[in-house]
């Protein structure tokens, strides 16, 4: 499967974009030409120059440096969100699908309740309840999203529980933990990867959206959504301010979605061969 993935140029490009972005984010303190918080009010709305590669914003801060530092909350918090979601979803889904019975009923009814709320509204409600903070946004995203994963993983688990190799494993008396970790998780992991890479894009958008609305990352911390929000105020006089963060969000989310598609193709050889 991985070999097929690495043969696909689109998958390579997407992975390249994601890795490069992540690397830039990690190395931001060394890669950025300026302090992202340093004001240079005389040079506000300056065009691109050697000192400010992407110009400056309404306070004269270097847009390029802020973009680089903005990768951290955008990309890494969305990855954290996905990690939490998958962790919770896998535990719940596998428990429901493998043990069935009462455990299944309880978990799935909770999932039904979770799925009946519109996710964006619930996040707003949780943030309103717990206070405006990026940590609350992450918690709220995990809280609303795990149910999708639990349901998906439960279905996959049920499918594999009926497979002969799991039946054999049970009949020779292997423990539940062994069966779950050695048989179940590797089988589910492939399907999980597709959903996770598609949803990372969702998480990036979500964090940017909430920061744009002023509910996520707070000024002056650089974040792409928040930068878009600041640029929105000068949309008429200086529209070029929105280009850098806007293009960056589109590129990153696009890369996640495309990677998800490529993963799905690699998993299903029949569609890839056509």
């Amino acid at each position: 499967m991985l070999r097929q993935l690495f043969k696909n140029p689109m998958a390579l490009l997407c992975m390249g974009v994601l890795l490069f972005t992540a690397l830039l984010g990690i190395l931001a303190p060394w890669a950025a030409p300026n302090d992202p918080y340093a004001n240079d009010i005389l040079n506000k709305f300056a065009g691109p120059s050697w000192q400010y590669p992407l110009g400056t914003d309404h306070l004269g801060r270097c847009v390029f440096s802020r973009m680089l530092f903005g990768i951290r909350p955008t990309l890494f918090l969305s990855l954290l969100t996905m990690l939490g979601t998958i962790g919770l979803g896998v535990i719940m889904g596998v428990a429901a699908g493998y043990f069935r019975g009462v455990v299944d009923e309880i978990i799935m009814r909770v999932v039904d309740v979770m799925l009946s709320f519109p996710s964006q509204i619930i996040i707003l409600a949780v943030v309103a309840l717990l206070g405006v903070d990026i940590r609350n946004v992450v918690v709220a995203s995990i809280f609303i999203k795990w149910a999708w994963y639990a349901r998906m993983i439960r279905t996959a688990t049920i499918k594999y529980t009926g497979m002969n190799f799991v039946l054999f494993s049970r009949s020779v008396g292997s423990g539940n933990f062994y069966i779950l970790t050695r048989h179940m998780l590797p089988c589910i992991a492939a399907e999980l990867a597709v959903l996770a890479s598609l949803d990372t894009g969702w998480a990036i958008l979500n964090i940017s959206t909430l920061s744009f609305l002023g509910l996520g990352v707070q000024a002056p911390v650089p974040e792409w959504g928040a930068m878009l929000n600041e640029a929105k105020n000068v949309m008429v006089s200086n529209p070029e301010q929105m280009i850098a963060p806007g293009v960056a969000v589109v590129a990153l989310v696009g890369a996640c979605n495309m990677l998800g598609d490529c993963l799905r193709d690699a998993l299903d050889p029949r569609t890839a061969r056509q």
């Binding site: 497979m163 002969n164 190799f165 039946l167 054999f168 494993s169 049970r170 009949s171 020779v172 008396g173 292997s174 423990g175 062994y178 050695r182 048989h183 590797p186 089988c187």
Partner: protein, 291 residues
């Protein structure tokens, strides 16, 4: 005389019906209606039945995967589904399974050595001693007639017959007394079937195994088994203790259906006489039972 190796007494199993007439209905479909059988040491017992007759469900009950609603399974005199400490772990490895569908019976992500190693690991856990896995895997592969180089291969790199041999190796790795063969040769082609059955007979002679051979294929049973049970609609409808009786049957499938409809106690002689009268009505019944 010694007690039989494996005793099944009056096992009943039912499942909730898929389509309930009422909301929250609890209608159940009886799948096994009081099955009793006994297996002697070193014997090979054939269980023949058509699809949906419950023979695979019986297999699951015997393999310890499905607790029956009533009745009990004793292996070596110990209750497979008993709650006592003495019952719990002991009989587990008295019986081992080989499944029909070899494509799904080995985890596609496991190498052959790990697939067999899983059984050895279970054996280690049960007996509390360390097994030299690498050496044992090579021994087992040799016993089922595979080269030791197979150990590092993945299941999709093996042919069906080879894979079924791996499944057999995996099943005998836990040193069972009884091996349950659930349609174990049905999905192989004829010559491979014969090879695998010859292998099974050889293993039986060498290790003193008993077999329960679940199948729909009468020719395999005549080739392989000492006794045969006919299974229909969750019941044992006829028992053949001498395979010579069975070999007289020329048209196995029609005859088996007929036997299933006529029930127990009908002699082959009566059967031939009554066949003409009973066939139309009998056919209808069979169709009804199958749907």
């Amino acid at each position: 005389m010694k007690d039989p190796l494996l005793v099944v007494s009056d096992v009943r199993v039912s499942f909730l019906k898929e389509h309930q007439k009422r909301l929250f209905g609890r209608e159940r479909q009886q799948v096994l209606r009081g099955v009793s059988l006994a297996l002697e040491e070193g014997e090979c017992l054939g269980v023949i039945g058509e699809s949906g007759s419950g023979k695979s469900t019986l297999g699951r009950v015997l393999a310890g995967l499905l607790p029956p609603e009533s009745g009990a399974v004793f292996i070596n005199g110990r209750n497979l589904y008993g709650r006592g400490k003495r019952d719990a772990a002991g009989p587990r490895h008295g019986l081992s399974v080989v499944f029909q569908d070899y494509t799904s019976s080995v985890n596609p992500r496991f190498r052959v050595e790990h697939a067999i190693g899983e059984s050895l690991r279970a054996l280690e856990r049960l007996e509390g001693r360390v097994v030299d896995k690498k050496r044992r895997v090579a021994e087992l592969l040799e016993q089922v007639g595979l080269p030791a180089s197979c150990a590092s291969r993945y299941p999709h790199e093996l042919s069906g017959g080879q894979l079924q041999r791996v499944c057999i190796a995996r099943a005998i790795a836990v040193n069972p007394r009884v091996v349950l063969l659930d349609e174990a040769v049905s999905s192989l082609d004829a010559s491979t079937q014969t090879q695998v059955m010859d292998l099974l007979m050889e293993l039986r002679a060498r290790r003193g195994l008993s077999y329960i051979f679940i199948t729909h294929d009468l020719t395999c049973v005549t080739y392989f088994c000492d006794r045969a049970l006919f299974f229909n609609a969750g019941r044992i409808v006829e028992q053949v203790d001498d395979m010579k009786n069975l070999s007289r049957v020329r048209d196995p499938y029609a005859r088996r259906l007929l036997d299933a409809v006529m029930g127990i106690g009908v002699q082959p002689g009566d059967l031939r006489r009554e066949r003409a009268d009973l066939l139309p009505a009998g056919d209808g019944d069979v169709m009804g039972a199958a749907s």
